[in-house]
Symmetry: C2
Subunit: 365 residues, 2 copies
């Protein structure tokens, strides 16, 4: 297996280097890193460290390495990996419902653990050997330990929601399992689509809704669930997260073909090379004509490399797929913001949700 | 990776061919297949099929194949794989607390799904390409689809326990997650021990308690939890399951070195070949003397094959490890039966628990 990882890019967002964190409590200036990210990290990291400490030593060292708590030989490292976008959504979803961030803690921890479970397994499935500028867990410790560590994080996630006998936590656990199953379905579709040429735009959006939307929808609503918020608030926040996920994925898919070319100077087009049926490819393949047929032919021959790869990227570009993807992202971002545009969402939380949404969908091209 | 799977053998029990199932409701004759197995299968299989039907198509075909619901090309197959020992324990644990088998259903389904999650992942980790006389899921569909299908079964298992808002189910879900984490710890230890020579008998028993005992303890008590039984009944049943797991694993470890030799005529000794630190090996390595030193030397050189393998098996045998393992199995079986020897366990269920315990620990040598 040597498929390029969707998972790496699913690790949203790539924060611009050198942007200082905003002072605590104040939203960052437009374009900066939202303050809620630091707040969410401060809340969840100690608890995640504590939970991971409770794992058996063999599993713990792999999980702790993956999470950035220790280096390759087990020496402690300050901080932890990941930007905590999902925990930030959980915190804001509790605050959106008028509750304290503390109410969101078990949900924020659980969502972040589920996310990391999926990263550990995706790296194995996709054969990716680097993440966050370090060797991936399987590359360092082997496939078995990486699978087991992922399994452990999924189980830990659920356990944290169930160790207190109150109704909202059970509901939260149930929601998170639904999201996990959605994510699993999406990864299954992603793997299967690589073998097919008849992936429609609708298929592709469904896959993104599963693979990326489900967990973001859960992250954006689970805090409100834990706060015991009314159904319409939970629904609105969930809808916000789903649309945000679709917006993010559309941009991510554009980067998967054209992004790295701009940054690295080489025609990466890794999604094309690996036959990924991302949104631009689905757009191009569903636009009838000779260009579509040439693309389909190029993409039905083993790995696409060299001149064929450059041709395929040009054919996708000429179909107008790039602009259509960016339009999808814009529309989905608007739908996300419209979902939370009501008096039942706390105004301060709404402002931070909007800031976060713009941050994770504003990617460098 | 080409480690011999502990998981295959963990799939207890190997039912003698040609033994007819006992009529419904009546315990089988001594030495036959316990009637509770057919009863448990009839209870859980339709529900497991229904749950698996709800998975996305790509994940479903792999899960359904692994579970024996369809063949390699997706054609339906009657029945389903596995003997349903764990669901049988769950059913009996509800009945032991005076409740109906129906109360146990969500627990029986969840425990069986967790068991199959672990089999799917263990086959990948151990590189085993055959299970139940069919190619394993990863061998047929690839590593990625097999990991994803395992993930899906774990999530489905928990979801089933959480889709109704009652307290006992939350407690059951929490117990099952604890058992899952135990099982994960055990698999981690098993992988790590292959690299070590200083595995003590105590380390090995701890590993078995995790790898095999934790899920059997949960299976044997989760029905009582769902029935809302008092703590002492739950504790007694959990203790029964843990001791049963240790008894089973001790016998399984004996089979891992000497069992197949008797059945197949070749000196399989697969645990030795793969450097597994099973109980007999731990016994032999902890018995000081020149034999121990020769064994340690043999087992520190890459794969053990040919003459070296035969020598290693002889050294383990001469240390008296085989008899010590069988004594452990006997003692643990007695402790299991003593755990449920009280007036608070329903007599009929106790008789069936005992029959089942004797069945799964009576292995052909």
């Amino acid at each position: 297996m040597s498929r390029t990882s969707r998972a790496v890019r699913r690790e949203l967002p790539a924060a611009p280097d050198g942007v200082p964190a905003a002072p605590d409590g104040a939203p960052a200036a437009p374009g900066g890193v939202p303050a809620v990210l630091a707040r969410a990290r401060a809340l969840v990291l100690p608890e995640i460290r504590r939970r991971v400490e409770g794992l058996s030593p063999e599993v713990r060292r792999v999980a702790a390495y993956h999470l950035g708590f220790v280096d390759a030989v087990g020496r402690p490292v300050p901080g932890g990996s990941g930007k905590a976008v999902r925990p930030a959504l959980v915190v804001l979803s509790a605050e959106a419902a008028g509750a304290d961030a503390g109410v969101a803690l078990p949900g924020a921890v659980a969502v972040e653990l589920v996310h990391n479970f999926s990263l550990l397994h995706d790296d194995v499935m996709d054969g990716d050997d680097e993440r966050r500028h370090r060797p991936t867990a399987w590359a360092l410790f082997g496939v078995g330990p990486a699978i087991i560590a992922g399994d452990a994080l999924l189980a830990l996630a659920m356990q944290g929601l169930l160790d207190a006998p109150d109704g909202p936590r059970r509901r939260a656990a149930s929601d998170l399992l639904g999201a996990t199953l959605g994510m699993i379905a999406g990864q299954g579709e992603d793997l299967a689509f690589a073998e097919r040429l008849d992936v429609s735009v609708e298929d592709c959006v469904t896959m993104s809704a599963h693979k990326t939307g489900a967990l973001l929808a859960c992250a954006a609503s689970i805090g409100a669930v834990l706060a015991g918020a009314p159904g319409e608030i939970v629904e609105a926040l969930s809808s916000f997260g789903m649309h945000l996920g679709l917006a993010f994925q559309a941009i991510d898919d554009v980067l998967g073909i054209w992004g790295r070319a701009a940054v690295t100077g080489k025609p990466a087009a890794s999604d094309l090379r690996e036959h990924k049926k991302s949104l631009p490819v689905a757009f191009a393949l569903s636009t009838p004509g000779p260009a579509r047929d040439r693309l389909a032919k190029l993409m039905s021959n083993g790995h696409v490399e060299g001149d064929a790869l450059a041709s395929a990227a040009r054919l996708v570009e000429r179909s107008g797929a790039r602009e259509r993807c960016l339009a999808v992202a814009e529309r989905e971002l608007a739908l996300a913001l419209r979902s939370i545009d009501g008096p039942w969402i706390e105004a301060a939380a709404r402002a931070e949700l909007e800031e976060l949404a713009r941050f994770v969908t504003a990617r460098e091209f």
